[in-house]
Symmetry: C2
């Protein structure tokens, strides 16, 4: 009989969001009246329509496919040149960050890239992950066999967890021990924290010293409002020698249902074989895409390109301003309710301490029952998330205002 | 320093189509006049515009995303119910094949699914592959570490190759030895061969007897013209216990640039752990998609759904008739040129013996130089492909007619 990948059997029962979904469903079935006033501030999913520029570009591209003279079949496996070049120019070179067009790889989203990237890495790597953390970093490493079994608190043996706490402002210091592969995400999901240039430089120094690799998830960079915070790891000197950056159009262009993101993999990033040979990871990544993919839907790539047009940029800025207006409302309301809150200034997430003595799932149930508001329990993001919950600012203004009103009644 | 996946270093230098591309580019640069009359019958890429029904559905879906009331964010990770159900009903239940909606998993294409499927399988599986074969089956197994190093003829140690030759009509018999995982593709790429019900039953018997798993690639099922040939492996009794089917909208709906396909994984397919526990692969596959993907672009899924509408079905039939008209022209012309040809009746590919004494790359160069026609050398698909070449019927009628004319001059 065919063997299955036994690493899957180590996975904790539910991915966080399905469990949230289950509890909400059961509550709504039992409380049909409360169900009608339910507001979801849980999953980080956008709510506002796509920017007009993207809509027009996608429709135009679909029309092209409908006519003989302008039909496109298979696209280049690493993404169309028009999009790779728009990204490299606008997101990097225009901000004085050196990135070549062919160091950009178009994908169907950052969540997917998290898993894909492990395809080209060895199984011997010692991995460090923040705690709390986006569960996909953890689970894809479990599936790839990079961990031991899980412990009672949901953590896995074999992973080095980097505690992100109120004491370190949710930005961990590099560890004393050696690791080969580090995941960082700033602006952070779920804490909303950002790392300063000095803090990121300390990480790049560590990674360089240990000849390690840094996976930097910058999916939320568009939400940075403070001038000094780096938008890309490549703003930090020497990061081109040791980092891969993940970016997404989900949260800036509202592409969660359209599906497009990208990785930046500089040709100068090396990795090693067991016997010490050093090779550019770029070669392997390129081969991965050629062999395993036919890139992303042509109309989707045209839609992503349109986000960089003058109109598109203006529309993206308006979307960000909308969600960050929500974040301010919610953050203020949480404070008025007497709860301690973090984030929400450079990120669409507010990270809140639970009311005295409640676990984060108890707080989840309380918010659901008393306010009919869905939040995400911090414990779902890791052991250090216990005692916190995440409120997402992805909502309509009316909903955000209503949640703010209800929060003030929490006392 | 981070370790890389050393299995990538076992891969033969070029994936077939990049090497074809390189030779064509060099020829065109050296022969600008001939370059102008170049006709490509190489890569199996569609040339005709998308069916109108798909165009309208995709544009409508993009419009939905552009308005507040009809906006969609993240879709279900296994695909929208509307598409899973349209597929299960039209492609299976309407043809008296039992498949449940939740046994359908929507993906961004069959090429991608080939790689994804290995995520949930163990590394101990002994793999059998046809020869010649779609190179992606081989290369994804190499990348996953399921093979030894490559040999001189391009094959890899550790794989059992199933020779597909003129003697067995390009349909191999099950082997005598045990394997855990078998890949089959019918209608076949590259040979254009199809397997009868009896032949497929023999394979299902083998797979059941050996408690193995069958990956059945039916990407070209829409091209079957003969009544008795099964369109799905699930038409064969007991296949629901041991097979996964891969399907694509690339070649029926012309979606090579739109990107959509699916796998069918019956809940009754089991696989084992090292210590003999048996579990449904469906559970692991579901988990893979929840954790590693956010499914396929919403407008793309609406476009795929539209292929099942009355209009859509008519338009797909017209596309198939167009390409199969080309196939007939090309097959006849090849025969007139005195070459021995196979396929082209239930598949858009014609598999041709090279002229006396020529290797398939020599034949490639000859066709390029003398006829200015690009074909695919059989050796690129495996050792048994040596001495053959593939002509693709994916072209405009005018091009197919012109290639047919030139082929008659080959003498």
């Amino acid at each position: 009989m065919a063997y299955l990948n036994e690493n899957y059997l180590k996975l904790q029962s539910g991915y966080l969001f399905p469990e949230v979904g289950r509890r909400v469903r059961e509550f709504c079935e039992a409380n049909p009246k409360a169900a009608k006033r339910l507001i979801r501030c849980g999953i980080g999913d956008v709510t506002e329509p796509l920017p007009r520029a993207a809509v027009e570009a996608m429709k135009g591209a679909v029309d092209e496919l409908g006519h003989h003279e302008t039909f496109h079949g298979y696209g280049p496996e690493h993404g169309y040149e028009f999009l790779r070049s728009a990204i490299a120019q606008n997101d990097y070179r225009d901000r004085n960050v050196e990135v070549a067009d062919d160091e950009i790889f178009i994908s169907d989203g950052s969540k997917c890239d998290c898993g894909y990237v492990l395809d080209i890495l060895g199984d011997q790597n010692k991995v460090a992950l923040p705690d709390p953390v986006y569960p996909v970093y953890v689970d894809t490493n479990v599936m790839a066999g990079h961990t031991g079994p899980s412990r009672k608190d949901g953590s896995y043996e074999g992973i080095l967890y980097l505690a992100c706490t109120a004491e370190n402002n949710f930005v961990p210091d590099p560890p004393r021990e050696h690791v080969d592969l580090v995941y960082l995400c700033f602006p952070n999901n779920p804490t909303g924290a950002v790392a300063s240039r000095v803090q990121l430089s300390r990480w790049v120094d560590y990674v360089r010293e240990h000849d390690a690799l840094l996976l930097f998830d910058a999916a939320y960079e568009a939400y940075i409002s403070e001038a000094d915070i780096p938008h890309s790891i490549f703003e930090v000197p020497d990061a081109r020698e040791c980092a891969i950056e993940l970016r997404s159009f989900s949260k800036n262009g509202g592409f969660t249902g359209v599906r497009c993101g990208f990785t930046v993999l500089p040709k100068s990033v090396l990795a090693r074989t067991e016997n010490g040979r050093r090779l550019p990871l770029h070669l392997l990544w390129q081969r991965r895409w050629s062999t395993k993919s036919n890139s992303v839907s042509y109309p989707v790539q045209r839609g992503a390109e349109a986000l960089y047009s003058q109109e598109g940029r203006k529309q993206v800025r308006a979307l960000i301003a909308h969600y960050m207006g929500n974040a301010k409302l919610l953050r203020d309301a949480v404070a008025d309710a007497g709860l301690e809150a973090f984030g929400g200034v450079n990120a669409p997430y507010i990270w809140v301490k639970t009311s005295e003595g409640l676990t984060s799932w108890q707080m989840f149930d309380r918010m659901l029952r008393e306010l009919n508001v869905v939040i995400t329990p911090g414990a779902g993001f890791g052991a250090q998330g216990e005692g916190y919950f995440r409120i997402s600012a992805f909502n309509s203004r009316a909903n955000a205002e209503e949640v703010a009103r209800r929060l003030r009644d929490l006392q």
